[in-house]
């Protein structure tokens, strides 16, 4: 963003103001995440930086809250983490299967009533979560699935499929359909064509949709609060309870782990996006 040498002074000033505003916004976006890191290593129970921490005294830092998170007797984090992963994995698999099939159908130019069907399939993403929560709760209560893992997995499939539908439809929009016709003319059956030709090409889209579905499920709290019993508690539900009752440093230890997880997911999503663009021949 170097300015050309002929720029007038007032535009120069304006340019620096613009850079300053942008820096402030980036700081505003990212800085809150980094407050959590140092505080989770606090040796004391308070959620403020102690004098020792400000002076970088090694004694002021400790791993006690991480130990508490893993070994703490009263802490339900172990169960919550197990539930969260089980639910998110099954919800992701369900979302990927249903969402990819639907996206394949929607991308076909023969699809009737495309607009209204697309709107229906995406609606769980647009409808406020609280309303989805109430509606899904009524269904699960009637079906006898409230306070079961199955019920929560089904609920998260509802919330996760729109992401898969959107990402896979986007991938398919740049898809060259002549390759499937070529496969068919060479004698391949549709299932074989899908597995050998279509799937490898749309895989980045499928996986990145799956990542969205995974994060949606892993982070979802509103619907789970309606559906979950004591045994179905998840990490977000535990955090919600913890934040409402008493902010303990153990929550910060959990939060740090979650930030590391999201960094991991961000990196994989970014790599996938680039691979997908390369495969589809989009150069930027």
């Amino acid at each position: 963003m170097a300015l050309p040498s002929y720029t007038e002074t007032r535009y120069r000033i304006w340019h620096y103001i613009y850079i300053a505003i942008c820096s402030f916004v980036f700081f505003f976006l990212i800085a809150p995440l980094f407050v959590i890191f140092p505080l989770s290593f606090n040796a004391e129970e308070f959620l403020v930086f102690s004098e020792g921490m400000k002076n970088l005294d090694p004694d002021a830092f400790s791993l006690r809250w991480y130990k508490d998170m893993i070994y703490g007797t009263k802490n339900p984090w172990g169960l919550a983490a197990k539930n969260s992963f089980i639910i998110a994995i099954f919800a992701t698999i369900g979302s990927i299967i249903l969402g990819t099939l639907a996206a394949l159908g929607l991308s076909s130019r023969h699809m009737p009533y495309k607009g209204i069907i697309m709107a229906t399939l995406i609606s769980p993403m647009i409808v406020p979560l609280i309303i989805s929560g109430v509606a899904i709760f009524f269904f699960m209560a009637k079906a006898g699935l409230a306070a079961t893992h199955t019920g929560i997995v089904l609920a998260h499939i509802i919330l996760g499929t729109p992401f898969v539908v959107i990402t896979v439809t986007a991938t398919l929009s740049g898809f060259d359909h002549s390759v499937t016709r070529a496969a068919a003319s060479l004698g391949s059956n549709p299932v074989n064509t899908f597995m050998k030709i279509t799937l490898p090409l749309i895989l980045p889209g499928v996986i990145s949709g799956g990542l969205f579905a995974f994060v949606t499920s892993f982070d979802e709290v509103v619907v789970v609060l309606f559906l979950a019993g004591l045994e179905n508690t998840t990490i977000p539900v535990q955090m919600w309870t913890g934040l409402r009752e008493q902010l303990s440093p153990t929550i910060l230890a959990v939060a740090t782990c979650l930030i590391l997880l999201s960094t991991l997911i961000l990196v994989s999503a970014e790599l996938l996006r680039r691979r997908s663009e390369r495969l589809r021949g989009i150069n930027r």
Binding site: I131, A135, F137, A269
Partner: protein
Amino acid sequence: MSSETKQILTTDGIPLEVSLKKAEKKNKIKAFLLVAPLLLFLVITYIFPIGDMFMRSVDDRMVTNMLPKTFKAMEKWENLDELPPEEVYRGFYEDYKLLAENQQHGKLGQRLNKEKNGFNTITKKLFRQIKRKKIDESASLKEQINKLHKRWRDVEYWQAIKRTAPPYTASKYLKGMDMYFAADGSIAQVDEDRRIHRILWLRTLEIAFFVTLFCFFMGYPIAHLLATLPMKYSNLLMICVLLPFWTSLLVRTASWMILLQQQGIVNDFFVMIGLVADDNRPEMMYNKVGTYVAMTQILLPFMVLPLYSVMKTISPSLMRAGKSLGGTPFVAFWKVYFPLTIPGIGAGCLLVFILAIGYYITPALVGGASGTLISNQIAFHMKTTLDWSFASAMGLMLLTGVLVIYWIYNKLVGVDNIKLG
């Protein structure tokens, strides 16, 4: 004969047109079958339950089913300003006796009490008389019931029963707007000091509007910067947008709770630069300030990403052309660049507004009493008061608002143009 010879046939002798139509139909069915599993799943587990919410919100069949004979007899009650005829009393007595035998009379008393205060007492009185078998069924029931309590002689109470006759009611929707059906059936406003829901609706709109505005003013410059910087820098800065986007909502809310607390870093900073005195630290959490700050940071990526994807497609030569034709940078920006970004602005603003209007978690944690929104009220009625029909009614009112916005969004941008990252 001549028309047949013109027709083109396929190798199996079927006219080409027919054969093509058949293939077309087959393709349509194939495409639909691929969508069918998800569509069916969503219709059963999601669309129907939303319909069920609507049924619950207007359902008022409880009294209708409890007092069938009363309502049948009331059809003959012509002059509504006078007490109803003997048949109505008899019908009510028989219905009530049946309810008392099935232990259902308490529910009726409570429901009628909601319609008109004072019903609980007089129905209980009637119940005791029936239990002691003090009512002579062969004599006039009108006289005996009227003697029990003076309220039974008040025609307003009988009018209240009649008002509960229709199996469906819009009263929950009126309650959501702080209104109710008055005794004569007209719509009335509740007392000024009890109008809590209207405040909540307005506050929800206000917070959603201002959060959208803040997000726009913060998101536009950085989206522009990201779109114009060379790739190697913009990719790095993009992480600042994407990392919060992928991070758990609760983690981000927790970090704001730490930052904004009274002994928190933001307050420390204000004290350090001398903006506030150390012993007079302002409360920045558990009020609207907290809700605004946290929600703006949480929803900002949803503004930046659509803006960025639109700005990325705008060629930088357009701005140069504008300047070379004599426009100052401001004019070139305002007349050339800005109009081209309007689709992105529409997408980002509507996305943020829709998300903000239904927000629940963050306002509940950092909002305190003055920061709670309509979603919190819905959750409260679902979990605490268990008034599910009222929660459904308010949910559907919110949903209607969102669908209107969604419809506008679809007209302006198209749902299939949503881009994620």
